[in-house]
């Protein structure tokens, strides 16, 4: 029988209902897993065992009832860039060391209302900038499949936690691939919803026009369940959309008959690892065998997505991160006699290298004289990419391709080469620019490391990509593969190639 920490939320709920176990028991089991693994994995920056157990006790009687809320008693990890009242929220940055927000993010409020047991705050790249979680000021998270490798980023902490049974579900955020890429690297399901589908209120902004909170889970059904809890219009976020949220889980399909899938040609070009390519092509064949009509489609501007992203995102970041200046919250230098010194020392001490790099790039891109050449041109590329997707969706119900060019890379492998690191997001960034939903679902192992299939949908049509991912998942064994217990940093486990 599967151990409690490895059960899906759906399975856990069924056991609660049958009275076979209780939230307190499940939460204790998860904390035992955390105790056993965290020293190696470092998925969390903060856990509150007492609070979690107290909350679990509160739901103990309720979970057997038919009208129990959807996440009653389910252990959930929350990425550390999502505000939790009274709990540290550092965004993996020294500049927010010790900062405890006075309010809960809307998604956290919705989690609590749905009965979720929030275990703690999970590690991430500083201010969600990076692709490996190595940019966390508090040390990297390791990939549960191979501790010598990164879990991906920036939601490396919550994703590793879900993959390693340190949480049943998790909330991540995705600005350029930060949910989907680690989900692919860690062999779990991760979704970036449509921009506007989930409230950003309480998500510490990196790039406001791109950021989106999404679910991380060990099954598509679980991802659907969590999405349904957090999705929907929030008056506190003007960019959240007033679009009806369907009961995703009730409609999940196992057949793909009649579904038209577009295979993005540009996503299979130079730079894609042969093993990853083969796994993704196999996955597409599986979809075909499930009834999908698969055809190639071209998104010629997709290759400009990464450069455009690295203008728009840093530009917004340079403004969003201006508030970390040592005046009314967060780190303040102990050594400043005047205002300018206060600002510059606080920021020099508080921010890491990648954050500084992006603030400088963004400041430059918005400066007068460069604004047209960089920022406005990037916005035009963005419009172009959005239109190409729209055109593609005239012919297809969903688009498919790889999530990442490679499987999980080694710690330290790319830290000194930002451009190589940025390329890790080449297939995920276009969706953020277009505001579209995308899901990563496990589709194989290459050299013992997970590979993800990316399914991209129309705006606000998360249902279709959940259906495709679910049908694929149910037809394949990949989602049942768990990382080897206590996977050591092994030289023997080959590089992805």
């Amino acid at each position: 029988m599967t151990a409690l920490p490895d059960l899906t939320a759906g399975e856990l709920r069924a056991r609660y209902r049958r009275g076979e176990t209780s939230p307190a028991e499940a939460v204790r089991a998860v904390f035992e897993r955390i105790d056993a693994q965290e020293r190696r994995l470092h998925a969390y920056l903060y856990v509150d065992r007492e609070a979690a157990l107290a909350e679990a006790a509160r739901w103990d009687g309720v979970v057997r009832r038919d009208d129990a809320p959807p996440l009653a008693g389910i252990p959930v990890a929350v990425k550390d860039n999502i505000c939790t009242q009274g709990w540290p929220t550092t965004c993996g940055s020294r500049i927010l060391a010790g900062y405890r927000p006075p309010y809960d993010a809307t998604v956290v409020t919705r989690l609590r209302r749905a009965g979720a047991i929030i275990l703690g705050k999970a590690n991430c790249d500083e201010f969600a900038m990076g692709s490996s979680t190595e940019n966390s000021a508090y040390g990297p998270t390791r990939n549960p499949w191979d501790e010598a490798r990164v879990p991906g980023g920036t939601s490396g902490g919550p994703t590793a936690a879900v993959a390693a049974g340190e949480a049943t579900l998790a909330l991540g955020s995705d600005t350029g691939g930060s949910i989907r890429q680690p989900a692919a690297f860690c062999g779990v399901v991760g979704m970036k919803p449509t921009y506007g589908r989930v409230s950003r209120y309480g998500l510490v902004a990196f790039a406001s026009s791109l950021d989106q909170i999404g679910p991380i889970a060990r099954s598509v059904r679980d991802a659907a369940l969590l999405l349904q809890v957090i999705a929907g219009r929030d008056p506190a976020d003007s960019t959240s959309a007033d679009v009806e949220v369907p009961a995703y889980g009730d409609r999940l399909a196992t057949s793909l008959r009649g579904v038209r899938l577009g295979i993005i040609r540009e996503f299979f070009a130079e730079g894609l690892d042969a093993g990853v390519a083969a796994a993704v092509r196999d996955a597409i064949e599986t979809c075909r065998s499930l009834g999908a009509a698969c055809e190639e489609v071209s998104l010629p501007s997709a290759s400009f997505a990464l450069p455009a992203y690295y203008i728009v995102a840093p530009a917004e970041a340079s403004s969003n991160l201006a508030r970390y200046a040592g005046v009314h919250f967060g780190h303040r230098t102990s050594n400043a006699a005047d205002l300018i010194t206060l600002y510059s020392r606080t920021r020099r001490e508080g921010f890491g290298a990648e954050v500084k790099r992006r603030i400088m790039i963004g400041t430059y891109a918005l400066s007068s004289g460069y604004y047209e050449a960089f920022y406005l041109r990037a916005l035009r590329v963005r419009t172009l990419i959005r239109r190409e997707f729209e055109t593609a969706f005239n012919r297809f119900d969903a688009l498919v391709g790889p999530v990442t060019p490679t499987t999980a890379f080694r710690l330290g492998e790319k830290v000194d080469d930002p451009l190589q690191m940025y390329l890790s997001d080449v297939y995920t960034v276009p969706l953020n620019l277009a505001g579209l939903p995308g899901i990563s679902v496990p589709c194989g192992l290459v050299g013992g490391l997970p590979v993800g299939l990316q399914v991209i949908g129309r705006a606000f049509d998360e249902q279709t990509i959940l259906n495709v991912a679910h049908a694929f998942e149910q037809a394949t064994p990949f989602h049942t593969r768990r990382p080897p217990a206590g996977a050591p940093a092994s030289e023997g486990r080959g590089r992805a190639s």
Binding site: I82, C91, L96, Y103, S238, S319, A322, R323, L366, S368
Partner: protein
């Protein structure tokens, strides 16, 4: 056109940027109450403090008031406008950017291309309005010895910026423009317009232009805290630039601060490197759509504006143009006037008292009519006492003075001081007889037909009665006694 020392007559060119605090209950982007004078940092929340993760939500009421202003100024209202971030670091700005509306390419502000008309000399002056946009206010720094503190209560208070074309030609015009703009916005119920609470602030750009020549280099003048200081600051700056040009010096483009005490403008010590605000569209807000239905709903609810009211005072109430202009100079004055004439139906008389003695008192006190204790029913009571001959005009001035100070009704003051006019014929006749007996010379003159002497005798009666005698009756009684026509 003031002549320079060299005799070249330069034209003064002034443009104003007026910041108006909107009368909303809550702030621009959050639900915090807008409150003047609350203890520091008690009117704040994660949004106006710019805490990580917080997001702005636009206050629709502030847009209503912006649209109202646009309608009152005859502006073109943009069906879609955009908010921008103005990026700069300062401790009173918690996000280190201000949410504002920037005019850039295809991003117009809320409203453009309006005009404000007001009476000037014998005609009307027209000043172009370049733009009206919405933005959030900053907090306030409080300096105490050795350190600086910040109060974020004002942070996020809704502000509207009204920018004129460079159409003003003198410091006096600038003051008049501001007076009329403030009245307009008060009538439109957009703002309280109280300068001392900072709800109506203004910066000015001033340059001199040689006849027929291009615009000269302009300076920006800040820190003008009252309408009077605007006029004085601009007059000083106009003179300073004129003298510089006369000496053959260039005017330097810079920001200058008005020093109220020294009555000069001085160049700000801040580094004069050009600020690059790195404006870009605010991604946390969706574009602002103002559809025609919304505009029409606001238009139909628009209160009567000063121009219409002025016309009504002239055409319906029969007031002179000049009086009507003064009575509509502030909303408070017009409201007071109308409340008074509802109780005392002689508008010309009520108007005279308001723009005469009462305005003089308010001017000297530096206050507005709704900031002194007198109420319209009190003034109406006083006017009725004069009108029915119960008190003399001279006593009335004395009574009014106390009413303005204390807010007590006229009747009570009259009683207390014994200022009621004496209109009893028997009483007055005995005083008249006394005066005639005491002044045989002038009495003889009257008998001899010298009419001027009547006035002297009336004066003596008034003196004896401490101004309380009914002058008309006294006049008649003297003539009767002395057999004069």
């Amino acid at each position: 056109m003031p002549p320079t020392e060299t005799g070249v007559r330069h034209e003064t060119i002034i443009g104003l940027e007026v910041h108006v605090q909107l009368s909303t209950a809550s702030k621009m982007f959050c639900a915090c109450a807008v409150a003047f004078g609350a203890p520091p940092n008690t009117r704040t929340c994660p949004v106006c403090l710019g805490l990580p993760g917080s997001l702005p939500v636009l206050n629709r009421r502030a847009v209503d008031l912006g649209v109202r202003t646009a309608l009152a100024l005859g502006c073109r209202i943009q069906p879609e406008s955009q908010f921008h971030r103005k990026n700069y670091y300062y401790p009173d700005l918690p996000k280190n950017y201000q949410i504002s509306q920037y005019q850039y390419m295809d991003h117009p502000p809320l409203a453009t291309a309006g005009v404000l008309r007001f009476p000037f000399g014998n005609g009307l002056k027209e000043i172009g309005i370049r733009r009206v946009h919405l933005e959030e206010d900053t907090g306030k720094l409080v300096h105490v010895p050795g350190r600086s503190l910040v109060d974020y209560n004002r942070c996020g208070t809704p502000l509207m910026e009204v920018v004129t074309e460079p159409d003003l030609r003198s410091a006096e015009e600038a003051r008049l423009f501001l007076t009329h703009l403030r009245a307009l916005l008060q009538f439109a119920e957009v703002t309280s317009g109280r300068l001392e609470e900072g709800t109506f602030r203004c910066d000015a750009n001033l340059s001199l232009r040689p006849p027929g020549g291009p615009y000269g280099t302009r300076t920006e003048i800040k820190n003008m805290n009252s309408l009077r200081s605007v006029e004085r600051a601009l007059r000083f700056e106009e003179g300073r630039q004129r003298e510089a040009l006369a000496r053959g010096e260039d005017v330097i483009q810079e920001t200058r601060h008005w020093d109220e005490d020294r009555e000069i403008t001085f160049a700000s010590r801040e580094k004069e490197e050009a600020q690059d605000y790195r404006y870009f569209p605010e991604p946390d807000l969706v574009p602002l759509h103002v559809d025609p239905t919304w505009v029409e709903r606001i238009r139909s609810g628009l209160p009567e504006l000063p121009e219409a009211r002025r016309r009504r005072y002239v055409e319906t109430l029969g007031l002179p143009e000049h009086d009507a202009g003064l009575l509509t100079a502030t909303r408070a004055m017009a409201e007071f006037f109308e409340a008074t004439i509802r109780l005392f139906s002689k508008p010309k008389v009520a108007g005279n008292w308001l723009i005469g003695d009462i305005a003089a008192y308010l001017n000297a006190e530096g206050r507005e009519i709704d900031e002194v204790p007198i109420r319209p029913e009190h003034l109406a009571g006083l006017l009725a006492l004069i009108d029915t001959g119960k008190i003399s005009g001279r006593s009335a001035k004395e009574i009014l003075e106390e009413m303005l100070r204390t807010g007590r009704p006229a009747e009570a003051i009259v009683q207390e001081r014994g200022l009621a006019q004496i209109s009893d014929e028997g009483t007055l006749d005995s005083v008249v007889q006394e005066v005639i007996a005491e002044h045989p010379g002038p009495a003889g003159d009257v008998r001899a037909g010298k009419d001027q002497a009547v006035a002297f005798l009336v004066g003596q009666v008034m003196k004896k009665t401490r101004g309380r005698a009914n002058p008309t009756m006294v006049n008649r009684l003297i003539r009767e006694r002395l057999g004069a026509g």
